[in-house]
Symmetry: C2
Subunit: 263 residues, 2 copies
């Protein structure tokens, strides 16, 4: 049985304001929550579970360790439907504490990161997190106006990768200016015209900047991008104007990792 | 001013049943409708417009030719909000006649096509259509249980590419069996384990089969797939279980076209 005040809290977490106020967000579905619990068993995990609400069926197979300080609440399918932020609820919903982590110094010198300039669609951010994870990219830096990481749709489309990829929100102009002026770290940016991605010399460190769904990379960031790259269309005449940013991210991550993955 | 019966018709077109009954679907937004109108000027276009409802602002810049037999209705922003199937309506909504087109014989011998086995998410189908268009793939064959092409979310995410890529619904088992038994046409299928996509010898014809979001390619199709291909993760240990099918489609189309696009 779930209390009215808890229902109210969960529903409020649809909104960023209330997520920040309570320091909590909602993670739903068997895959996402089970992945979180496997990670949670790991003492290094940044994500701490506040409570788990699930059907009896889920608890029967759950790997939650006894003695944890997690509130566990058994609920019916109907109750799950009432609290779920998804259209098709799936057995379990967890409230998770928003973690606090910091961007490693020299992150761009050592590893490859993605930089997202005003990504607005939560599904795009989630699938970009998942593809970054697939290709071993563990840091993503978003502009401050980008969609929130803990938006229920972002959490849903990132699936378990949310627990493995670190996402930071930063003012991008000073960050990129610093790397441009003070270092020789490679900074790539995707544009509709630029060097052919299939012939560009890729790197294992640095940053790849991807732009907003409608407007691309903002003008104020352009001066700090060292290499403009582009995915060429098959035909200049018969082609769409652009491709979806999450698909562009997939192709570009694939190209940057290709040399390591080819057998 | 828009009549009550027209509002009722438009709202009913959210559902496949009523799209089929009326032979109509809804296309919305400046980009999508403007692309359709440029195509419509072309006598070969398969898509015929039934009516256009738009704000005065849109009509001012529209390229609709006088003398066309399209019903044009000027509406207010408020009326647009009432009829739109989108969350953020954008100036114009068109009713379009569902076209009838047939799959070219030898399509697989001559060109490369995508085959989608039970894709369920309308956004995935739409973005796959857009990426196919980008990479010059103009035929997609869907299993009969796949999401409908004229679902408003598919139309929205396909954007203008809907007017350029042909999407067919077929029973896949007999189709693939025929190609397997009677031809030597290459048929690739994406699996979690298979030949490394980065080392596979790709072709300019044949078919690439992509599976359902949750279950992959169905068991009954597996025997008719000649080459099992797979996108390797960067690390076997730190990785998600899978990637989104629309992103897999992007990476695979990119790899199949890479040799042609490299400069």
């Amino acid at each position: 049985m779930i209390s009215k005040s808890l229902i109210k809290l969960i529903k409020s977490l649809k909104h960023k304001k209330f997520r920040e106020l309570n320091g909590l967000f909602v993670a739903e579905g068997e895959k996402t929550v089970n992945d979180l619990i496997s990670k949670y068993a790991d003492a290094n995990s940044l994500f701490k579970i506040h409570s788990v609400m699930a059907t009896p069926d889920w608890f029967k197979n759950s790997k939650i360790l006894p003695g944890e300080t997690i509130e566990l609440i058994e609920i019916t399918e109907d109750e799950l439907k009432r609290i779920s932020l998804l259209t098709t609820p799936n057995k379990v919903l967890a409230l998770v504490r928003i973690p606090d982590y910091s961007l490693e110094e020299n992150f761009a010198e050592k590893n490859l990161s993605l930089v997202l300039d005003d990504i607005r669609d939560p599904g795009n951010l989630g699938t970009i997190i998942r593809i970054a994870h697939w290709f071993g990219i563990t840091s993503i830096i978003c502009s401050e106006n980008s969609v929130d990481l803990y938006n229920p749709k972002t959490v849903q489309s990132a699936m378990g990768s949310l627990w493995s990829v670190r996402v930071f929100y930063r003012e991008l102009k000073p960050l990129l200016r610093h790397y441009f002026e003070d270092t020789d770290v490679p900074v790539f940016g995707t544009f509709l015209t630029g060097s052919n991605i299939y012939s560009v010399k890729t790197t294992l460190n640095g940053m790849i900047v991807l732009g907003n769904e409608a407007h691309g990379i903002s003008k104020e960031l352009e001066p700090f991008i060292r290499s403009r790259i582009s995915i060429p269309p098959f035909s200049e005449k018969h082609r769409p104007d652009s491709i979806n940013v999450a698909q562009a991210a997939a192709i570009i991550c694939s190209e940057f990792r290709r040399d390591q993955l080819i057998m």
